[in-house]
């Protein structure tokens, strides 16, 4: 009788198949993670070109307490998918600010080429609404300082 396997018998008795009994556990773990971290988007993004800044930092506030105000190149202002006349920004923001117990952070998302006069008007509207915390949304600018200077 020929020797099975050419004489090379399996010596180890360790199971050779991948254990799949914990597959469902892993799936549920991921499922619960994504369920907890999911935040459904509130409004659509406006097409703007971001300004860049190397001091960019994360906003330290819950997402539901951040209100995005989009300012486009032509000076049109968008809040929550609606185009709003500049003068009405404070009327829109004031009730939202009160509803958030003054926790609201305004993220001014302006196109990099927006003339500053529009930004200044938005700022004045925000001051009129009593808002204190404002963030100028920017993209992080990566720079190699040693080379640039």
């Amino acid at each position: 009788m020929a020797i099975k396997g050419g004489g090379f018998d399996r010596k180890s008795k360790a199971a050779s198949n991948i254990p799949d009994s914990s597959l469902a556990d892993i799936a549920f773990l991921l499922l619960i993670f994504f369920m907890v971290t999911t935040v459904f988007k509130m409004g659509k993004d406006r097409p703007i070109e971001w300004a860049q800044a190397s001091a960019t930092e994360k906003i330290d506030e819950k997402i539901k307490n951040i209100l995005n105000i989009w300012v486009e190149r032509d000076g049109s202002v968008w809040v929550n998918d609606r185009n709003i006349p500049l003068e009405e920004v404070s009327d829109i923001v004031r009730p939202l600010y009160a509803a958030s117990q003054r926790h609201l952070v305004i993220s001014v998302r302006a196109d990099r080429d927006t003339p500053y006069s529009y930004i200044d008007s938005v700022q004045k509207e925000l001051v009129a609404a009593g808002v204190v915390r404002v963030v100028f949304a920017t993209m992080l600018e990566r720079q190699m300082r040693g080379i640039r200077r």
Partner: protein
């Protein structure tokens, strides 16, 4: 043999669990696709409250005037001499100035027609230099 305890129905009384993993994966993929991680980033500023205007001695003000072409005019409080520079240079200037006068306030005055990004460049340089007292204004006389 007694037939008393014999089951009549052959239906399985256990809840089927073989499709549980499928359901889990379905939900998993759904939440994977719908997840948006927060990407709110920017330069934080604190606006003054309404009517909260304080008179500041000219000595403690560093006027930073942002022109339409992005070049910055720097004017120290009382003096009338103007120094021109690029926004990047403000960082080192601010560090020097603030060691000389810790009460210094940066008054960033931007030309109404200047693009937003030039103001951001200046604000960026000031924040990199650790400036905390920044006032953002619009340039009125030019």
């Amino acid at each position: 043999m007694a037939v008393l305890n014999q089951k009549k129905t052959k239906a399985n009384s256990a809840i089927p669990t073989s499709s549980m993993a499928d359901i889990a994966f379905l939900l998993l993929i759904f939440f994977l696709v719908t997840t948006t991680f927060p990407k709110d980033k920017g330069l934080a500023v604190v606006l003054p409250e309404q009517g909260e205007e304080v008179a500041v001695s000219q000595r403690n003000i560093l006027h930073i005037i942002v022109r339409v072409d992005g070049i910055v005019d720097l004017r120290r409080g009382e003096s009338t001499s103007v120094q021109q520079m690029r926004p990047d240079d403000i960082e080192s200037v601010w560090r020097q100035e603030v060691t000389a006068n810790p009460n210094l306030i940066a008054a960033v005055k931007t030309h109404p027609d200047a693009p937003h990004r030039y103001m951001i460049d200046v604000l960026d340089a000031l924040q990199l230099a650790g400036a905390e007292r920044i006032s953002l204004q619009i340039l009125e006389e030019f």
